[in-house]
């Protein structure tokens, strides 16, 4: 099977580029802590309201953790609890969320906070809120007739 010299050059360049991409995201994920949200903890979706920390949705200060706050959301068709929250600028926050019914999305629009909420599972993401502004949380996974009216608000304040 004859492979033209130029094709060899192209494929070597192409594969090298892909390897560079994989290395960059690999290092970022496994060494710099930028893993996609992959919490393995489970929960009973019918007992969410009585299971910590979902029994106290909203922004909660915590001690002795790598983060300063936990921001806890309970999602259901078609709303998020809390519907509005204020986060101090520069706060390192673990965002935790789960759903009481169907699969919902949880996307703080324009940020990297973007996770799927599946019944029976807890979703979490640690980040530092380093920009002032008003951020819309949208449900970006179809969940029924009210899907496009399911939203919440985060205000990052000084």
């Amino acid at each position: 099977m004859h492979i033209h010299k130029f094709e060899k050059i192209w494929l070597i360049f192409g594969v090298a580029t892909l390897l560079v991409f994989l290395s960059v995201i690999g290092v970022s994920a496994f060494y710099l802590g930028n893993q996609p949200p992959s919490c393995l903890a489970t929960i009973n979706p019918e007992k969410v309201d009585t299971t910590a920390p979902f029994d106290k949705p909203g922004l909660n200060k915590v001690e002795g953790k790598e983060w300063d706050y936990e921001l806890v959301y309970v999602a259901s068709a078609f709303n998020y609890n809390p519907g509005e929250v204020e986060v101090p600028l520069g706060a390192k926050v673990k965002v935790l969320a789960t759903t009481k019914d169907v699969v919902h999305g949880f996307n703080v629009a324009g940020t990297n906070i973007n996770m799927m909420l599946e019944p029976g599972y807890i979703s979490e993401y640690v980040t530092t809120f380093d920009k002032v502004g008003e951020f819309l949380i949208v449900c970006n996974e179809y969940c029924g007739a009210g899907h496009h009216m399911m939203s919440s608000k985060i205000k990052v304040v000084e």
């Binding site: 130029f6 192209w10 580029t17 991409f21 990297n112 906070i113």
Partner: protein, 49 residues
């Protein structure tokens, strides 16, 4: 019969190297497009929280 065919084969091979220059240029343009778009979104990721 065999001789002209042989000639054609070698001359096609020599032509081969230069006559795919446009292909090489085209795929490398494609490659740069892939790199630029990827880096663009990577930078978005890095700069967002």
């Amino acid at each position: 019969m065999a001789q002209p065919r042989l000639e054609k084969r070698t001359s096609t091979k020599v032509e081969d190297q230069s006559s795919l220059k446009g292909t090489l240029a085209s795929v490398f343009l494609l490659g740069f497009f892939l790199i630029i778009t990827w880096v663009g979104v990577f930078l978005l990721f890095v700069n967002r929280f």
